[in-house]
Subunit: 360 residues, 2 copies
Amino acid sequence: MAQQHLEPTDPLAEPVTGDALAGYLRAQATEFLRALRQHRETGTGDSLDAARALRRSARRISGSLHTFRPLLDPDWSEAMRPELAWLSGTLALEHACASRLDRLLAALHRLSGSSAFPAHVEVAARGRTAGAARTGAAAAGAVSETRAPAPERGNLTVGAAKAGALLDRQLTLARTRAHSTALQALGSSRFHAVADKVALLASEVPLTTTAAASDLRPFAATAEERLTDAVAALPLITAGSPYNAEALIHGLSPDPAPHPQDAPWHQVRLLLRLHRYAREVLHGENTPVDVRLLTAGQALNRHRDASEAAAAAASAARTPRIAPATAYALGVLHADQRHEVEAARFAFQQCWQKQTVGTP
Amino acid sequence: MAQQHLEPTDPLAEPVTGDALAGYLRAQATEFLRALRQHRETGTGDSLDAARALRRSARRISGSLHTFRPLLDPDWSEAMRPELAWLSGTLALEHACASRLDRLLAALHRLSGSSAFPAHVEVAARGRTAGAARTGAAAAGAVSETRAPAPERGNLTVGAAKAGALLDRQLTLARTRAHSTALQALGSSRFHAVADKVALLASEVPLTTTAAASDLRPFAATAEERLTDAVAALPLITAGSPYNAEALIHGLSPDPAPHPQDAPWHQVRLLLRLHRYAREVLHGENTPVDVRLLTAGQALNRHRDASEAAAAAASAARTPRIAPATAYALGVLHADQRHEVEAARFAFQQCWQKQTVGTP
């Protein structure tokens, strides 16, 4: 089929019209409702999966509303997008806290050169006790350096063990709060209004009168251009030079905010996602797998995760009354994660370079 | 001249005999005596240069004694080498402390993202006050976190400034001690015995009876083989993969000793030096400049310097009663220098790879 090889910028391809957009939005709305049903029917064990599925379709609907804006009823579209952004942002927090903690504990194990308790063992153990942690952690807000390290952390040095215990308390607390916030959000009238709109979308997409006959490809091409322009503005020559030491350059800066140098990379990550969704709209279920886009997206996810983990380590180091050994371990951990940031930029540059060179 | 293109393993080259070794040793002994005279005549300002020149010739004599051992009087040679090693080791310490401090302060500035006071300004300022620091620093042994940071460090954050002040005190004290030890060594009867032996060497080299007619090239080839074998045993595949995160893997290990993973690299650094000296013996003043060897040597020097700077930061973090912010900055600094270690290994791998590929 010709559609399988269709690319947004391919001048020979047949037009894809607003009907395809309507079909995509209806399908994503149906997925959203299915995930919502699953979330209400299942226990907490599967609720993370259901939340992920809700976020997945909310992001796709929101992204398509953005890319193909002129083809949709503007009032409806303008009202819908911030609500979907609020929902997927709220639902993302719990998972983000959990995976940030896993990343930091795995790094502490690696930095301690421990082989007796590889990181995945602890991660698996954490998974089993996540429910208990969720209910009990709210009381663990107060920082206490005297608490003994958990048994599975016995192979870490004192500083690393204390740093791990501190991060565990802080991020488990954050996760518990994110979980409560997500539950509250899903029970709120604000959410019910969004769900009602999505339910409507599953049967009727508010296209403009001319949209059904309009070609979608110029809009998809614009999304791709925005991505290409943003990538061109990245410092890729530096990123492609290994060990450039750029990512840690503000490692001891007094600014507690995330590194401003990370922002353009985060922006590219979002634009890459919009480009991917636009391809899905054009190709539907026949969307060809683009390994280059997948790899680039993974590198940018790793960039974001490492950036936020580094910030969490720096933030934990500002906890009052921690021991110097704890602070030292958090400093090593922060620098380690900033080097992960740099490594992710290098990986992105490498795969993007191939992409550009490989394009005929 | 054919000699200009002579390589130790070149089967077509004419033999180089023990006479060349004798000439080389006489020349190095003369250099040694010249540097010693310069050291006695000059003030402390130039004494570092003189000490460097003494070390330079002591290393070359000692290295040649090792590589061409069977051609020299064994009793004399066995007695001479440990004395030369003691001397160059003792003389190297002061310079090592000074450059380690410069490296760590420059890194702290870089990590603070400061541009107002670039590192070289402070390094220059330190150079001017080195004499004062040397005389006054012995009293600064006690660690006092309350001491105000030096004015030129005002642009650093509190943690970075305190870490810088702590490292300054500890390494200036170590430098002062190294300076005293070097002065004592140069006035000792042990040193006078070495100097007498070197003076004798400048006029008469104790070759064995057959040495004058022996070919030097097999010995030089053995030195090169030892180097090649040691390089082959290095984890070069890992080192050539950027951001492999190997160098920091024991960053939080309880062992206060330098990282054992660094030892084979330090060993290659020494073997590379022996190979270079053997080439000098063969080629004399016509030794062709080998950019590959120079670059590889620089990468290994950087590896050694970063490894020792990282250890100094870790050691400073074990100072009792330091503030958590100081410890955090030292942790970041330690990790930064361990990444410099990794970067140096990558640089070595890159230049060695070229070397192997480039050889016809």
